[in-house]
């Protein structure tokens, strides 16, 4: 008998979504937060303050490096942006058997070193969304399988929800389950390009891990050797072994850089390679706001007299294509407006996945008289996977504010709090009746998010007051986002409680 194609697609859509839905949701929630990686990091490092960065930052940093890092084999200045407000110097001292690396964060106005709390900040969400905190235990393979399943879900979803293409632009608002089904379909359609690009680019990024066989067959060192062959970089630096003084007035180089990169605040990073050698080189890296590719554009200058040096060759098309997919995934090119649009699509994708899982359960519970173990498990995992994850994120932020500043391995402790909160939510969802667990966890989440900005203010009023004084909308924006998340949770709580009553 010829199988019914559409029925097969519905089955595939249902069960590919169900099996990996919770994993996909965790990946999409943390990945969506990664669009504001730097902003979250700035909020999580309040010691950075809110003062605007002085225009003298480069020269002041160079003078400090000249004093504190005399004799170093390299210097690096990571310039502050309005997104991260983090001016960081680092340098490497030659030592045997291993070179020693130092770093310093400077106050953006006084250029004095400041102590910043040890945290992964927003970067935790970025690394979690592709390693699942299981980097050494196959986390990236799980994320790859999830990306593949997302692609399966997208294509099978087009056949499953074909009615929506006929009734385009329709959301039935008269019944909760119908509204949810239509919302699932409409966000499914609007996020097709977004989810497709993200899933395909995720597979492209780790293609050498997922399909290493051809590279291993043709090259002795596999993907490493292939990467070295196709990547382009600046020519190797050969030391002259003649002592020289590096330029510490960057004005001459800045004029040359501005000719090549006319946009405002084009420089992301300045590196001095062998600053005390006559062949020393200054490498200026550009912000990735002008290109879809994730390849950093650089300019090279002599560190002795500032004349321009040979740059890197342009990359081959295949390599460039992979870099564009990489760039599209990371969206480092995005301006604030586009980042909000991408955040909106990320949030819509989360709604898509979460609504799919809730629908699966509700449609089945409406048909059966007696629940079986599968229903029970999905019901509880939905609670932990959706609201438990949101609560765990709040736990991570609380840990950032409440853990002792000098605690050893503080950054790891914050992540442990995130994971333990999630585990607690999972346990809670199993020991309480489902409806009660939803309501109680929603209420706890709402209170946690709504209180967080106040806890922040009580701990140190200066952080918020300074942000207000200097119009630091990154800091204020994170506080507003926390209040919004809390308010949405509270609205859901009230709605669900009313519905249950």
């Amino acid at each position: 008998m010829k199988p019914d194609f559409r029925k097969t697609m519905i089955w595939l859509h249902t069960y590919s979504g169900l099996v990996l839905g919770w994993l996909l949701l965790a990946i999409f929630v943390t990945g969506t937060l990664s669009y504001f990686n730097h902003e979250i990091s700035q909020w999580m490092k309040p010691e950075l303050g809110s003062k605007p960065v002085s225009s003298m930052a480069i020269n002041q940093s160079l003078q400090r490096l000249n004093t504190d890092a005399s004799g170093a084999i390299n210097w690096r200045i990571n310039l502050a942006t309005s997104r991260n407000n983090h001016l960081k110097l680092s340098w490497t001292m030659a030592n045997k058997p291993k070179n020693i690396r130092h770093s310093q964060t400077l106050d953006s106005q006084s250029f004095q070193p400041i102590e910043v709390r040890d945290t992964q900040g927003g970067n935790f969400f970025r690394t979690f969304h592709y390693t699942l905190q299981l980097r050494d235990y196959g986390g990236r393979y799980f994320a790859g399988i999830a990306a593949m399943m997302m692609l399966v879900g997208i294509f099978s979803g087009i056949f499953t929800h074909r009615r929506f293409f006929r009734d385009f632009f329709t959301v039935r608002l008269n019944n909760v389950l119908k509204t949810l089904t239509d919302l699932h379909a409409v966000v499914g359609i609007i996020t097709i390009p977004f989810c497709f690009i993200l899933s395909v680019s995720a597979l492209f990024i780790y293609i050498s891990m997922y399909m290493p066989w051809s590279m291993d067959h043709h090259y002795d060192k596999g993907s490493r050797e292939l990467n070295a062959l196709v990547s382009t970089s600046l020519p190797a630096l050969i030391p002259a072994n003649i002592a020289a003084k590096p330029i510490t007035d960057f004005t001459v180089i800045l004029a040359q850089v501005q000719q090549q990169w006319p946009e405002q605040n084009a420089i992301k990073r300045i590196s001095y390679e062998l600053p005390f050698d006559a062949n020393g080189r200054i490498v200026v890296s550009r912000h990735k706001s002008m290109s879809l590719s994730n390849k950093t554009q650089v300019l090279a200058f002599s560190s002795v007299d500032g004349h321009a040096l040979t740059g890197a060759e342009s990359e081959r098309t295949a390599r460039m294509l992979r870099r564009i997919f990489y760039g599209l995934h990371e969206a480092l090119f995005a301006s604030a407006g586009l980042r909000w649009l991408l955040f909106f699509m990320g949030s819509a994708s989360c709604l898509l996945i979460a609504s799919g899982m809730v629908m699966w359960l509700n449609k089945r519970l409406a048909k059966v008289k007696q629940r079986h173990l599968g229903h029970y498990l999905v019901e509880r995992l939905n609670i932990a996977g959706i609201i438990g994850l949101i609560l765990a994120i709040a736990g991570y932020f609380y840990a950032n504010r409440l853990l002792d500043f000098n605690l050893a391995q503080r950054a790891d402790a914050e992540i442990s709090v995130f994971l333990l909160t999630w585990l607690a939510a999972l346990t809670y969802s199993f020991i309480r009746p489902a409806q009660r667990a939803w309501l109680e966890l929603l209420l706890i989440t709402a209170i946690a998010y709504l209180l967080l900005p106040f806890v922040d203010f009580i701990l140190n009023p200066q952080w918020l007051l300074q942000a207000w004084q200097y119009n630091n909308w990154v800091y204020l924006g994170v506080d507003l986002a926390l209040l919004t998340t809390g308010s949405i949770s509270l609205i859901f709580y009230c709605w669900l409680r009313g519905r249950n009553n």
Binding site: V171, L173, P193, L328, F333, L341
Partner: protein
């Protein structure tokens, strides 16, 4: 960019009006074949103009990302608007 966004919003509204159900909810009368054709052609044409107007400037690849992002937001807005209209009725 704002012009392109607004053109896209209008284009999607025109395309939704080319569908009998949405037209009836908005104008409280049936959609004739000629009207359907007009809305459909007008919608697609406006959509193409919005696409070209955005891509004709600097950084067309980057603008393509903007256009697709606008599309997602605008489809949702039109869907919610039409649903609200039909519910009001």
């Amino acid at each position: 960019m704002i012009l392109s966004y607004l053109l896209q919003l209008v284009a999607l509204w025109l395309l939704s009006m080319a569908m009998t159900k949405h037209f009836r909810h908005s104008f409280k009368r049936s959609l004739s074949a000629r009207q359907e054709q007009c809305f459909s052609i007008g919608g697609w044409l406006t959509l193409v103009i919005s696409f070209i107007s955005l891509l004709s400037g600097e950084f067309p690849a980057l603008m393509g990302v903007y256009w697709l992002s606008f599309l997602a937001l605008n489809i949702l807005l039109i869907a919610l608007f039409n649903s609200w209209k039909s519910r009001k009725r």
